[in-house]
């Protein structure tokens, strides 16, 4: 019979396997989710409606801030130009990463479902802000579009996903506490 390992290891030694497990599951979830999202029926049934929702939401909010914008499928038409919302601009990858982390994290399924639902709404909201911002920039300062589109908003969307995950993680830790692990010695 194999004996139980002593619990007297250093903190780092104990944490490493769990963090590694979380990261491994996270990577597996990202890969699996990425493949799932690329399937034709997921594209037509989920990603395309989501992208169209982004386009119509962006046009509606842009009109509220005084820009004459209209949505046409996945395009947002504004004054002289248009923005096409493609893969990478629809917030799906940020949502995928967030969901991959939520599912990889050790938590009860009910809290995971709550996290996924809340995360979906939050990412959609932030992505609408991002798209409206990009429409405003494309309309009034097109020379800054690349900076905002590629550098600022890509980083911000990752930060938002991390922030949502940390908030959810803190909530999980408070809602499902367990005792301080015993240490020998």
């Amino acid at each position: 019979m194999r004996g139980r390992r002593p619990a007297s290891k250093g903190r780092g030694d104990l944490d490493r396997p769990s963090v590694a497990r979380f990261l491994l599951l996270f990577v597996v979830n990202v890969i699996a989710g990425g493949f799932l999202l690329s399937l034709p029926w997921v594209q037509s049934g989920l990603v395309d409606p989501w992208t169209r929702l982004n386009a119509s939401g962006t046009a509606a909010i842009a009109r509220l801030v005084g820009i004459d914008a209209q949505a046409q499928a996945t395009q947002v038409l504004y004054g002289p130009g248009s923005l096409e919302i493609v893969v990478g601009c629809n917030g799906v990858e940020a949502l995928l990463i967030l969901v991959a982390a939520l599912l990889a994290f050790p938590a009860p399924w009910t809290l995971r479902v709550v996290g996924v639902a809340g995360g979906t709404v939050a990412i959609l909201g932030v992505n609408l802000v991002r798209l409206v911002n990009l429409v405003v920039i494309a309309r009034f300062a097109p020379s800054l579009l690349e900076l905002f589109h590629v550098y600022i908003w890509q980083a911000l969307i990752v930060i938002v996903a991390v922030a949502l995950f940390l908030l959810w993680g803190n909530y999980v830790a408070r809602a499902e506490p367990i005792a301080e692990p015993s240490r020998s010695g």
Partner: protein
């Protein structure tokens, strides 16, 4: 006694994961700030273009070394999506994570950059394969990638691009004190490492087996066999008989129904003085090319090599 129904991998609140999110937001803001400060220098110095060229150049080399059909000699037109912000943000993030030791930060940065450039290179390889496949189908009607393969490679490309953001996400967490403060999974189960190694080995074996099985299945697919035949014709027309023969042999091994393959192979065999082999190939050609034009061509070829149309009885 510990409660048995508790998952060993549940987070522990006792060590205080619920710290204010403000320092983390400050770190994120600082990282973004550093990223934006670095950006003009990155562009001005030409590092962005150099980085992109390096990624595309490496991808090109990989494609050229591993291409199944010897069709590409270069792919200079590839313009991968601008993803160098991942590099800049990773730099900013590690610079801003002052609560983490510099050695750990350096290691994490190097790993993140290695993984990111690997992902970008792999995505560029996928892009080259997809774009060249589309071009070959458009210009020569050659199906370099079967529809399922095309879909798989396209899915892989999208996943690789998604994964770059996941690297930043993981780097953010790994440079955050938050993750280690959660103390997830404090209890380590006996044999866990062995099971993990076994699982990884099993996964690798399954992937390897699937890859071999896929390769075999592909070589027996009529559309793929036809592609080998068409590539052979391309090189035959260019008088590059070496590559043409190689492609024809693959097509013949896959039982192609293209009589031209057997006819040209017969010509190659005849040139080498292998008349029996040439006659055998011409007979196969005659079986497949049943129209009058083919029959006449085959008859003239038999006359040229001086072999009987019907195999001699032993």
């Amino acid at each position: 006694m510990r409660a048995r129904n508790r998952s060993p991998s549940r987070p522990a609140a006792a060590s205080g994961p619920g710290r204010p999110a403000l320092p983390e937001l400050g770190r994120a803001a600082a990282a973004l700030g550093i990223c934006l400060v670095l950006w003009p220098a990155w562009e001005w110095s030409g590092a962005d273009e150099a980085y992109r060229r390096a990624v595309v150049g490496l991808a090109e080399r990989i494609v050229l070394a591993r291409q199944h059909f010897p069709l590409l000699s270069g792919f200079p037109r590839l313009a991968p999506p601008n993803a160098d912000f991942v590099v800049l943000f990773a730099l900013g993030l590690t610079a801003a994570s002052i609560r983490v030791g510099w050695r750990r930060r350096l290691v994490l940065l190097l790993v993140a950059l290695g993984v990111t450039s690997g992902l970008q290179t792999a995505a560029a390889v996928a892009s080259i394969n997809l774009e060249s496949a589309q071009e070959m189908e458009r210009t020569h009607r050659i199906l370099v990638l079967l529809p399922t393969e095309f879909q798989l490679v396209n899915q892989a490309k999208l996943t690789l691009y998604h994964s770059q953001l996941a690297v930043l996400f993981a780097l953010f967490l790994l440079t955050s004190p938050w993750l280690s403060e959660l103390n997830i999974g404090r209890e380590t189960r006996p044999g866990k490492r062995r099971r993990a190694i076994l699982g990884a080995a099993l996964g690798a074996a399954v992937l390897l087996g699937a890859s071999i099985a896929w390769g075999r299945w592909r070589e027996s697919d009529a559309r793929h066999v036809a592609a080998h035949a068409k590539v052979g014709h391309l090189f035959w027309a260019k008088r590059d008989d070496g590559i043409a023969e190689e492609q024809y042999r693959i097509a013949a091994a896959g039982n192609t129904v293209d009589p031209e393959v057997y006819f040209n192979l017969a010509g190659i065999s005849a040139q080498r003085g292998l008349f029996k082999d040439a006659a055998r190939l011409l007979r196969r050609c005659a079986e497949l090319g049943t129209d009058a034009a083919w029959q006449a061509r085959v008859a003239r070829a038999f006359d040229r090599i001086g072999a009987p149309r019907r195999p001699e009885s032993p």
